[in-house]
Amino acid sequence: MRFIRRFEETLLQLFEEGALNGTTHACIGQEADAVAVTEHLTAGDHIFSNHRCHGHYLAHSGDALGLMAEIMGKEAGVCRGMGGSQHICAPGFKSNGVQGGIVPNAAGIAMANQLDGNTAVSVVFIGDGTLGEGVVYETLNMAALWKLPLLVVCEDNRWAQSTPVAANLAGDMAARFAAFGVPVREVDSTDVAELSTIAGEEIAAVRSGDGPRVLLIHTYRLCHHSKSDDERPQEEIDAHWLVEPLVVHGRRLDDIDRLRIDDEVETALSEVVATARALA
């Protein structure tokens, strides 16, 4: 989690320096979701992620250099600079920058696993904002009808770009999934240990072949939507900095371990940045 945090903070800094082109969407504050889910996945499983995909990708692959090079637009990037921040492909992982459409794509991968007769799980990460897209509900219906081995992880970070959930979403979030008979596990937490236990149970349930499930995590995005586009109340943001995943889990570590981890992260990250900068 510390590495994901520092990786994205570094990205934002590199943008400010003018070292990066285009745009990026940081998951700062949501790192626990990525780590909790991916640690239960194994070879053969597949993750479909969205525009805010760095945390998911790093937790899945650890390939920081490939991602940094990709965001820098280098030939050595995971997609040779074609995809950039939002469009990543690596074994067992894909992401796309359009809301909603990745959900049926992940369901199709789940259907392939079902036809193959294996026990692999297809995971798709969406956000509260994605719930505005109709194709999500088309897919939930079909995934439920066909009992597809699909786990939808909905990270409700309470803001869709600049619009709060209250202005975006009528009714109850969990009830939207439950309407299709899809079991929903709802949790309001930034605690990676708690989330990991729950994610492990949900993934095991999907793997057992009982059909799709939804893991609905209420969390918070601490930074702007992409770059310097944040009009949210400062006091709200400040309050969430007190309960963000690194603070919550950090309390479990003693000072020596924390400093060691921080040092290791900084060393590894500087090496990634230096190596990526030097690439053609």
Binding site: H46, M82, C89, N96, P104, N105, G108, I109, M111, E138
Partner: protein, 336 residues
């Protein structure tokens, strides 16, 4: 055998030959077998891989994309081509993006079959030929069914390549007999197959050798069938000789056969059932005018339907859609 049965036979063969082939679509399962009966019997023979779906075109296309990314060969049926609009995001921002934006690390060979076209009185939202909106989408092949192309050859090509394809089937072709060229003829017309390497063949049809033709006519699908009837009648009754060029793939186009014909005749008429303007014919006019400017005896004439809704009333529909009379008038004008 009629086209719908040939296509059914083709799909049955594909399902039998390759366990990666999966069919998805609305009402495609038995006993109904699809709105146009193209999939009749297939869900009985292959229950796991032929699935009827809810009315959810976006998810049909999106699940097909996921299957394709995972190595399957999905074939999605769109009951009426008008509903292709509900798949547009999947086609443009997902299916045709993945291979290139992932730097060739993935392929997404989805085949979308759509029943298109009018002349059946189905009205404004069940009669359109919307393929022009898909022409020019990068990394998408658009192929049109015709009576002169064996669907087995066409689907063998689709299934052997990794690119996504939109296959448009004009619904008036379903009850027609497929008339493939045999011994250089289709009925009383001289027929030849003209193909550039790696491309599906373009069929050229004429009553007399092309050297004696004064007009080239470029058409696909059902309009190609109408155009063939027109050029035959004009040849027999009035000695107006035209060569008809019928591609299977309409985007990206293999222009070489068109150039070979127009180089001889110096005149080109294009025919399509879609709405006039920003169309397949406009592109043909642009390309052929650039490439053969010095050889054209007159501007390229684009025949297309009126840019308005397609009325339900039989007579009003006939006023809007391209039919034999408009094709004949254009050929006469070009030959004059």
């Amino acid at each position: 055998m009629i086209f719908a049965k040939e296509l059914n036979d083709t799909l049955r063969g594909a399902l039998g030959d390759d366990r990666r082939v999966v069919l998805l679509g609305e009402d495609i399962a038995d006993p109904y077998g699809g709105a146009f009966k193209v999939t009749r019997g297939l869900s009985t023979a292959f229950p796991q891989r032929v699935r009827t779906t809810p009315i959810s075109e976006g998810a049909i296309a999106g699940i097909s994309a996921g299957l394709a990314l995972a190595g399957y060969r999905p074939i999605a049926e769109v009951m009426f081509g008008d509903f292709l609009t509900l798949m547009f995001d999947q086609v443009v921002n997902h299916i045709t993006k993945y291979q290139a934006m992932y730097a060739e690390q993935a392929t997404c060979p989805v085949i979308i079959r759509a029943a298109t076209g009018g002349h059946r009185g189905y009205g404004p939202t069940h009669s359109q030929s919307l393929e022009k909106h898909f022409l020019g989408v990068p990394h998408l092949r658009v192929v049109a069914a015709s009576l002169y192309h064996d669907p087995r050859t066409v689907f063998t090509d689709f299934l052997s390549r990794d690119e996504p394809v939109l296959y448009v089937e004009h619904k008036l072709l379903y009850p027609q007999h497929v008339t493939l060229p045999v011994n250089g003829r289709v009925g009383d017309l001289i027929a030849s197959s003209d193909a550039s390497p790696g491309m599906l063949p373009t069929i050229r049809l004429s009553a007399v050798p092309v050297e004696d033709c004064s007009v080239s006519v470029l058409a696909y699908g059902y309009q190609a069938m109408l155009a063939a009837q027109v050029i035959e009648r004009l040849a027999v009754e009035e000695e107006i000789f035209a060569e008809l060029i019928v591609p299977a793939q309409i985007a990206p186009m293999d222009w070489a056969p068109v150039e070979r014909s127009v180089s001889v005749t110096g005149r080109l008429v294009t025919v399509e059932e879609g709405a006039d303007g920003w169309s397949w014919g406009s592109e043909a006019a642009s390309v052929i005018s650039r490439r053969l400017f010095g050889r054209l005896g007159r501007p390229v004439d684009v025949v297309a339907s009126e840019p308005t809704i397609i009325p339900s009333s039989k007579t009003k529909e006939a006023d809007v859609l391209v039919g034999s009379a408009r094709i004949e008038a254009a050929i006469r004008a070009a030959a004059a």
